[in-house]
């Protein structure tokens, strides 16, 4: 287990290294001179002298290799520069907004899991009925519906028409409902199908027949044997879906004016705030890969078969 964890840690570092290199390259490939953009953001007339001075300050005058080396060391020591717009440290700006995004993603995940469990188990039990058709339709719609449109519809019905729930901002639990549903509903109904198929597959296995032969109650078999077995693959999907939530939260935050990372990055992109964009990619990748590894570990812990190999 320790070796497994160490391997993962090494992988994490490699991926991080790769991503920092990629963001460096992307920034160099991006059209436009950062110094020029920085000056124009602050409405300073871009004279040749000012440009040169700023290039020197930003380290742009040095060779590409030394810039790259500087960038890598900075990236690993959490010195991600200062925002062009607010002049504050990128790391601080990002970390201030993380809790909101994590809160939203977690709430989305909760909705997703709830939908997966409820729809998945009930459609597995009543596998050939109206409920199953509803589940099928939901999964199909869930994978085709644009997130932002779903958000609009929810706002329109629950906030504008009936005024039950607030449509924007962050604060009470009430504020969380609509964004979380927007984020989690589609994915949940898709995973419900996976859970259903898994459960139906497991039900054909010999050990279920054996359990039935031993006279265990149907309910008991369902909860302790079938579900336990069928839920394993779903656990791994949680990791992947968290990545989706990080990406999807950009749009959801924009719709619901949620003060998180996603809304910030859209603002940064519109202001051409390069250090923030870079920092954002590195941070999300880091979170994403870290969560993936944690999920993997949980998976190994849950499934003894994997430990042997």
């Amino acid at each position: 287990m320790i070796r497994f964890c160490l391997e993962r840690l090494a992988q994490l570092i490699i991926v991080f290294f790769f991503v920092t290199t990629l963001t460096f390259l992307l920034l160099r490939l991006a059209p436009g001179d950062p110094a020029y953009i920085l000056l124009t953001t602050h409405d300073v007339p871009a004279s040749e002298e000012a440009l040169n001075a700023l290039r020197k300050e930003l380290g742009l005058a040095e060779s590409l290799w030394s810039q790259y080396f500087q960038w890598i060391t900075d990236a690993f020591t959490w010195q991600w520069g200062t925002s062009y717009v607010s002049k504050e440290l990128v790391v601080e700006e990002l970390f201030r907004r993380i809790p909101a995004t994590i809160e939203l993603a977690t709430a989305g995940l909760v909705v997703m899991i709830a939908v997966t469990l409820i729809m998945g188990i009930s459609t597995a039990i009543y596998s050939h009925g109206l409920l199953n058709q509803v589940g099928k339709l939901m999964a199909l719609l869930g994978s085709s519906i644009p997130t932002f449109w779903l958000g609009f519809l929810l706002i329109y019905f629950f906030s504008v028409q009936y005024g039950w729930l607030p449509s924007m901002g962050r604060g009470t639990v009430k504020h969380l409902f609509l964004p979380a549903i927007t984020l989690g509903l589609g994915l949940g109904s898709m995973y419900a199908r996976v859970l259903r198929t898994n459960m139906l597959e497991v039900m054909n296995q010999p050990f279920i027949k054996a359990a039935m032969a031993r006279g265990l109650s149907k309910k008991r078999i369902f909860i302790f044997q079938v579900f336990k077995h069928a839920f394993l693959p779903v656990v791994t999907m949680l990791g992947t879906s968290f990545a989706f939530m990080l990406g999807g939260s950009i749009i959801v935050e924009e719709i619901f004016s949620w003060p998180g990372l996603g809304k910030y990055i859209v603002e940064a992109i519109n202001m051409r705030d390069y250090p923030v964009i870079q920092g954002y990619v590195m941070l999300t990748t880091f979170i994403f890969v870290a969560i993936h590894n944690v999920v993997d570990m949980i998976y190994v812990w849950l499934d003894p078969r994997l430990r042997v190999s």
Binding site: Q11, I14, V15, F18, V19, L22, T23, L26, L27, L29, A30, P31, G32, L140, L141, S143, S144, I145, P146, T147, F148, W149, F152, L153, I155, Y156, V160, T236, G239, T240, A243, F244, L246, G247, G248, I250, I251, E254, I255, I265, V266, A268, I269, N270, R272, Y274, I277, Y280, V281, T284, T285, F288, V289, H292, V295, D296, Y299, L306, S309
Partner: protein, 288 residues
């Protein structure tokens, strides 16, 4: 060659007729649209659906139906172009890595794994952010992100195809590599690719709409579905039709793609399922 049995099936029928209808309407957009999609009429702002304006008008008094119909051209054509770019990049690389395995293959696949470590939407949005918002930059960004998926798909399909006996015999009878790829491997791989591509069209349209919605993709006044929804943000509370119809357009198109691909996956699930499994990152982790 695998034979796909095309039994007449409701979902395929529904999906394909939906898509064909959408594409036809898009092709003959001027015939179907009742008004000029760009004609501003401020005295007619945000009117609800009526005979003259079946889907109502938007905040500048433009006919929403006409804008949606012309939007087909932008969205679908753009998705199609992105698909062509993606294949242009990923076909050679996928064939290269799948046909000649070895060090190059290993190197390419590892770097692709690295790219895939970044959440797709995050990476797309970053590339758009660095290049600057706009129609072409959006296309470049989506292509730059999506080709990795295709390389993995093509590689695994080619790998599988190369195991077949007839490829071995083709090789033994002295065909050149290029000829084997062209005559034997490609036709074997093509049907799966085609279907995967069709399904992906829906995803690309969704992605583009998302980017345009954030104001990073297509810019107004171009009639595009995502842009229309972006414009709708400020007005949908008083005039919900400005939001409902463009969203439905996206939904129907993506639904059409999904319906077709879902059925196909059931009929011929082996290769695609394998790829989907491979996409499960934990498994590839555990393998290595």
């Amino acid at each position: 060659m695998k034979k796909i049995s095309y039994s007449l099936n409701i979902s395929i029928l529904l999906g394909s007729s939906l898509l064909i209808a959408i594409v036809l309407i898009g092709l003959f957009a001027p015939l179907f649209s009742p008004h000029d999609p760009l004609a501003v009429n401020l005295s007619n702002r945000l009117t609800f659906p009526s005979w003259n304006y079946p889907f109502g008008t938007d905040h500048l008094g433009r006919c929403i139906l006409s804008r949606i119909i012309h939007g087909i051209r932008v969205s679908v054509a753009c998705a199609f172009l992105i698909m062509i770019f993606t294949f242009a990049i990923s076909l050679p690389i996928g064939f290269l890595t799948g046909y000649w395995r070895g060090r190059t293959d290993h190197l390419i696949m590892r770097s692709i794994d690295g790219i895939l470590a970044i959440p797709e939407f995050v990476l797309t949005i970053t590339i758009v952010g660095l290049l600057g918002p706009g129609f072409f930059n959006m296309m470049i960004a989506i292509t730059m992100v999506r080709w990795t998926n295709y390389v993995r798909l093509i590689r695994s399909l080619v790998l599988k195809s190369c195991e077949e006996d007839y490829i071995r015999s083709a090789r033994m009878s002295g065909n050149s590599h290029l000829r084997i790829m062209k005559r034997y491997v490609f036709p074997d791989v093509f049907p799966s690719l085609f279907v995967f591509g069709a399904l992906d069209m829906g995803k690309i349209v969704l992605l583009m709409a998302g980017l345009s919605f954030l104001g990073l993709g297509t810019q107004p006044p171009t009639p595009e579905w995502g842009v229309m929804l972006h414009d709708a943000t400020a007005y949908f509370q008083i005039a919900p039709h400005v939001m409902i119809f463009p969203g439905l357009a996206i939904l129907f198109f993506v639904l059409g793609c999904q319906l077709i691909s879902e059925r196909y996956r059931k009929l011929n699930s082996a290769p695609l399922k394998e790829v989907n499994d491979e996409d499960n990152i934990h498994k590839s982790y555990i393998k290595c």
